[in-house]
């Protein structure tokens, strides 16, 4: 095989890597957008729920105060309603954990995209001597390193999200 053919084949292989990196990067951009959208929706829903809970609690507390003395049943009924709201608040805290997990995924996706963008930046620099196959091969190797480094981010513990610790959840230590 002549050096000219070798250089052409090596250049085509490099182009293939550009296609792979571009395609992966576009899909990851979509994922990043979806994660951000999910986080916004979660934040808005949690915020709305809390506003509703606070409104209800304010009314209950006001009603509790206005109960005339000598009617303990009504006062205790309001207490039960408030307890239900407290229980709802306890479960709503899961949103915080989900938010942390989404944050960790966003960081991971961003790091993957950084590596893919590095690979694409390499591809946009002209090869000094395009007739030499070894130069194309070296470029492909560098691009492949970036792509692999990007894919490896999947296994990285992006920002060590705190997992819900069922054993200790709700525990109290007073020093």
């Amino acid at each position: 095989m002549s050096e000219e053919h070798g250089a052409r084949d090596a250049a085509q292989a490099a182009d293939l890597l550009v296609t792979v990196a571009t395609s992966l990067n576009e899909r990851l951009a979509l994922t990043a957008g979806e994660l951000a959208r999910s986080q916004t929706m979660l934040r808005e829903a949690s915020g709305e729920l809390m506003t509703a809970f606070r409104g209800a609690a304010d009314r209950i507390v006001a009603a509790q105060r206005s109960v005339p003395s000598g009617t303990p049943d009504r006062r205790s009924e309001y207490g039960v309603v408030l307890d239900h709201l407290y229980r709802a608040v306890e479960h709503l805290q899961s949103h915080d954990l989900v938010n942390q997990l989404i944050d960790a995924q966003k960081t991971r996706v961003d790091k993957m995209r950084e590596q893919l963008e590095q690979a694409l930046a390499l591809a946009s620099t002209p090869v000094a001597e395009p007739q030499r196959p070894d130069q194309w091969i070296e470029r492909s190797r560098q691009m492949l390193d970036c792509i692999v480094a990007g894919i490896r981010q999947i296994d990285e513990d992006a920002r060590a999200p705190v997992h819900k610790d069922k054993k200790h959840a709700g525990s109290v230590d007073l020093f």
Partner: protein, 120 residues
């Protein structure tokens, strides 16, 4: 009325803490990280601080240490309310001068009990 400073980078978590404490008759002021918490605590007289641990700008343990250096906060109770539950972290909290450590998700009734206890 006792004033409680709630420090958490999650607005909804702050709202939850405020919701529980205000329904029990406390006044709650909020801060979104340790640095803002320190500012609020120095600008206003606070009877209790409840802070998250993992926050941008300044984390909970640094906030505890910073507050304990201030004369007005030598004996004010400070509670960590966090998803962190390791013994090592709790030991750091204790060494920093925290009054107690509560692991999220918190039970509102338990939170109120602890608050009443440390404010006694």
């Amino acid at each position: 009325m006792k004033t409680i400073l709630a420090v958490d980078d999650s607005a909804t978590m702050r709202e939850m803490v405020a919701f529980v404490l205000e329904s029990a008759g406390y006044r709650v002021i909020e801060a979104e990280d340790g640095a803002q918490g320190l500012d609020r605590a120095t600008a206003t007289s606070v009877d209790l601080v409840i802070t998250d641990q993992n926050m941008p700008n300044m984390d909970g343990l640094t906030l505890v240490r910073s507050l304990r250096e201030l004369r007005d906060y030598k004996s004010v109770p400070i509670l960590l309310l966090t998803t962190e539950s390791s013994d090592a972290m709790k030991a750091q909290g204790r060494a920093a001068g925290a009054t107690g450590w509560l692991v999220k998700p918190f039970d509102p009734a338990t939170l109120l009990e602890v608050v009443q206890k440390v404010l006694r």
